[in-house]
Symmetry: C2
Amino acid sequence: MTGRLEAQFAFLNEADKLKQVLRATTLADGSRRENSGEHSWHLALYAMVLADQAAPGVSIDRVLRMLILHDLVEIDVGDVPIHSANGAAHGSAETVAAEAAAADRIFGLLPADLGADLRALWEEFEAAESPDAVFAKALDRVQPVMHNIESGGGTWISYNVTAEQLEARVGTKVARGAPALWDWVRGRTRAFFDGRA
Amino acid sequence: MTGRLEAQFAFLNEADKLKQVLRATTLADGSRRENSGEHSWHLALYAMVLADQAAPGVSIDRVLRMLILHDLVEIDVGDVPIHSANGAAHGSAETVAAEAAAADRIFGLLPADLGADLRALWEEFEAAESPDAVFAKALDRVQPVMHNIESGGGTWISYNVTAEQLEARVGTKVARGAPALWDWVRGRTRAFFDGRA
Ligand SMILES: [Ca+2]
């Protein structure tokens, strides 16, 4: 048992580093960049509060677990902003390979049984095929949109994003998991994009 | 439905402020103070990883939800460090009343059904009576201990804490929800306290 706790805390102490990974997106008030630890917390709260936007059969309990661990690989790889490199860096073969190596290292700190469970959840999230993963991904995409709305543009300004690019890179993925939610949020983005057109 | 989403996002945007509430405890590497948003995320990960330390019958799914929202009242009240005022500020009548008023305001932003559900979970956590709450509280108490161990003393130095005070203020509460865990962690604290005796 002692060896097991040793491994569990090696992982939990390593995970602490996610609080030092900075994202492109700021807090809602624009005062500073958000880190990936607090972002993961906020998404878990999104899942609890927006559960009524999920498709029938989605397990919010599994969505919560996915969201809590979905960004851990960023400890090694960093955050790859969705609008960076004109939308091409996110999901590139290089990023995917680096994230898999990070998952080997980080989930490998855990006792084998637990590491396998958590890694399987992370892979399910990344695959974005199961209804739980599709809903979790929708929340991960919609939260930065809300922060850009609240802060008056945020990364849409720094990456010079158009309404069409937002729809293609973000909207389609939110709509896949939560169509009514995207309808409503898209309406909230109009003031910003109409003002720039 | 639109009015409902309006209320859901009023709450989620307000919750973002928890990322600006600073705790006494630092990150594990001592580099800066931890905020209550990222702390809540870390505790949720603790619950996933240390689930095997919970008493039979504890629902980790409910523990996760409690931990995700347990600190929201700090948006209004701030964090009250466990070792501050020689251990007397935490749980004082003033703090309890201020936290109840904060819960009225913050959970009151939500649609009434959802606000009542989340508030009930927060009250269950605060009451620290149900097995789920007792385990959630144990994790909330043990994480700062790990950070003090990792960073070489942390708040034990700033508040001049003795091994006996740690046992009374923290150890008894961790042991109540996770006795084997506290046995192990107490052992890890010895190097620090023996060095000071
Ligand atoms: Ca806490």
